[in-house]
């Protein structure tokens, strides 16, 4: 868990600077066994994705593939990169770039009529 600077009148006044040390080694909240289970789930989803690319599921193909991709993406971000357990500011920094990129490039593709093609 992250240590947030304490308000005046506590450690700051006493000269104790230990509150400034980042103790956010968040992965200690998750056991190695849990990481292995998450990796197995990711492997199964990948196998399912590959299988799906060989069979004809009609109009469900694209939404299913994109959903599975998103599940894998956010599973790695939340569990392996510890964004689920870490300080919210890291989430803001990363998602700011991610959503900006998605917005900018979806708009760029729309100007080329990509989605209507």
């Amino acid at each position: 868990m992250s240590t947030i600077p304490e308000p005046a009148g506590t450690a700051m006044d006493s000269g104790d600077t230990s509150y400034l040390i980042d103790e956010s080694h968040s992965s200690t909240l998750v056991s190695d066994k849990r990481y292995i289970v998450v990796a197995l789930i990711l492997a199964v989803i990948t196998g399912f994705e590959v299988t799906l690319s060989y069979i004809d599921v009609g109009p469900f193909f694209l939404p299913t593939m994109l959903t599975l991709m998103a599940i894998k993406f956010f599973t790695v971000v939340l569990y392996f990169m510890h964004l689920k357990f870490d300080h919210k500011i890291f989430t803001v920094l990363f998602y700011m770039g991610l959503f900006l990129a998605v917005g900018v490039y979806v708009a760029a593709l729309m100007t080329f009529h990509y989605f209507g093609a």
Binding site: T3, S24, H25, A43, V77, I89, F90, V102
Partner: protein, 210 residues
């Protein structure tokens, strides 16, 4: 504060070159870790541009040298599985480092670098096959955008391998200044990022046909 005026870490143990308050700024969080997250956010824009360019041009190819004809899905699936498993070994390395078990962490880091090298080797093999089939960098808009996108990703994986091996050597020789577990975690963040970029590339480029 100790006798020379340096702050004493929260755990009471003074590591060589341990995180000083200025490395944590006013937020109480690690500036290095924050910088890495900011960098990864900006990398989304880089790869977003490359993926969008590929999506626009993937239909612009000549004859039978298009994505549906040349991609070897079973081979790329194995490569993807290898990179996915490297994320597991990386996170186990981070976990070991945070338990201060740096000997085990080094083993996981070496294994991660090996899996990464296997992935890059597979990519070089794939590029060689495509080139022999007649798909050069300037053959078509599809080939240019494909090689640029996957080449950039491969370069990122290669940089990650170099960072992993350098970190392993530095940990072994006790040359890491500051919080060693945090250094492993920050390299881990970069490694997982190249994995999530590949998750997107694998689905959009390889599995979804034109």
């Amino acid at each position: 504060v100790n006798v020379v005026g340096e702050p004493i870490p929260a755990d009471g143990v003074h590591h060589a070159g341990h995180s000083a308050p200025e490395e944590h700024g006013t937020t109480g969080l690690s500036n290095n870790k924050m910088a890495m997250w900011l960098f990864l956010g900006s990398e989304c824009l880089l790869f977003g541009g490359l993926i969008s360019t590929y999506m626009l041009y993937r239909g612009r190819h000549s004859g039978n040298l298009g994505p549906n004809q040349i991609f070897d899905i079973p081979f790329t699936s194995v490569s993807s599985f290898v990179l996915l498993m490297s994320s597991l070994t990386m996170v186990l390395g981070v976990s070991a480092a945070e338990r201060k078990d740096f000997r085990t962490a080094r083993i996981w880091l070496i294994l991660t670098a090996t899996l990464g090298a296997t992935f890059v080797g597979g990519q070089v093999y794939e590029f060689t096959i495509f080139y022999r089939e007649g798909l050069g960098f300037t053959t078509s808009l599809f080939s240019s955008s494909f090689y640029t996108l996957t080449g950039f990703h491969g370069a990122h994986v290669t940089v990650g391998i170099i960072m992993l091996l350098s970190l392993t050597m530095m940990l072994k020789r006790d040359r890491v200044s500051g919080d060693r577990a945090e250094s492993v975690e920050i390299i881990g963040l970069y490694w997982h990022f190249v994995d999530i970029v590949w998750i997107v590339i694998f689905t959009l480029v390889y599995l979804i046909p034109t």
